[in-house]
Symmetry: C2
Subunit: 189 residues, 2 copies
Amino acid sequence: MKLGEKLNVVTSNEGKYREYRKKLSKYTEVEMLNIGYPEIQTDFLEEVVEFGLEQLEGYKPILIDDSGLFIDDLQGFPGVYSAYVMNTLGCEGILKLMHDVENRKAEFLCIIGLIDENDEKILFRGRSRGMITEEQKGDEGFGYDPIFKPKGEERTFAQMSTSEKNSYSHRGKAVDNLIKAVKGDLEIQ
Amino acid sequence: MKLGEKLNVVTSNEGKYREYRKKLSKYTEVEMLNIGYPEIQTDFLEEVVEFGLEQLEGYKPILIDDSGLFIDDLQGFPGVYSAYVMNTLGCEGILKLMHDVENRKAEFLCIIGLIDENDEKILFRGRSRGMITEEQKGDEGFGYDPIFKPKGEERTFAQMSTSEKNSYSHRGKAVDNLIKAVKGDLEIQ
């Protein structure tokens, strides 16, 4: 994989852009590209990202990502539709669905998609296993952070500082895999 | 609007195809076209259908549709993602989310999209208002039928025969609007 002189990070989220710039500016110039692109309905984040890359070929080299919370006992719900479910049901709705449910295991997944200098399409994955709490805790972060406790921790993501959360988080791990690939430390299939 | 000699109904659902053929064969030859096409993530069925028509232009004249259950108290959830939510949470999950909720109003919406003989893109809408029941009732139909009671009825869709359900249903009404347009009885904007 080869990053080239510039990389367009396609997002409307300033915070996300800054995170990528911070991590990648050692390797390339990172620019924010705030344009919308269609996301397809599918059960798999990988397919959302692959379809998105196809729509955005004219803007390469580009980076996009998509992520979601997958709850074991709910057959992966809210999954690919995590943002929509946050806007409609919110954390409250998830806790209602998990009422009296014993198996509270869940995972956050993040898929980064990239078209590099050589026109290659490459996906990177990051995963964070954990549990859905019984009630909301903490004010940091966003989305499902107040109800997700990563494995081996007693606090939710919303009770951690950003840098603490990043050390556990799905997006942090996906970016780490990308950087390994830039350095040539990761075999890409 | 002009239907021409043939219309391709894009669906993988034999029952849906037969319903369209039954209603439209008086006006045109109806063929089933079992091909997949990408559906985008959006809060609006209309946008799913419009995007779908664009993907399928090569197969015109075509008809596609999309439908969903929109629950007032859940900000329209499950809406555009009704099929996915049925596969993950099912009717049980919806009843759990509606536990202790007083406002049980909901509606089924169906949007039919068509590219006609003159290459015009036209959408037709059908709506069925009703209530979410407290428990599942009936074995007919499919999807959310056991928990949806149309306005003015004491029975759920799952307690009705197909033809009874069609007289109330969102898809039935959308097809009726299409037929009015074919006959020239409906002004299209």
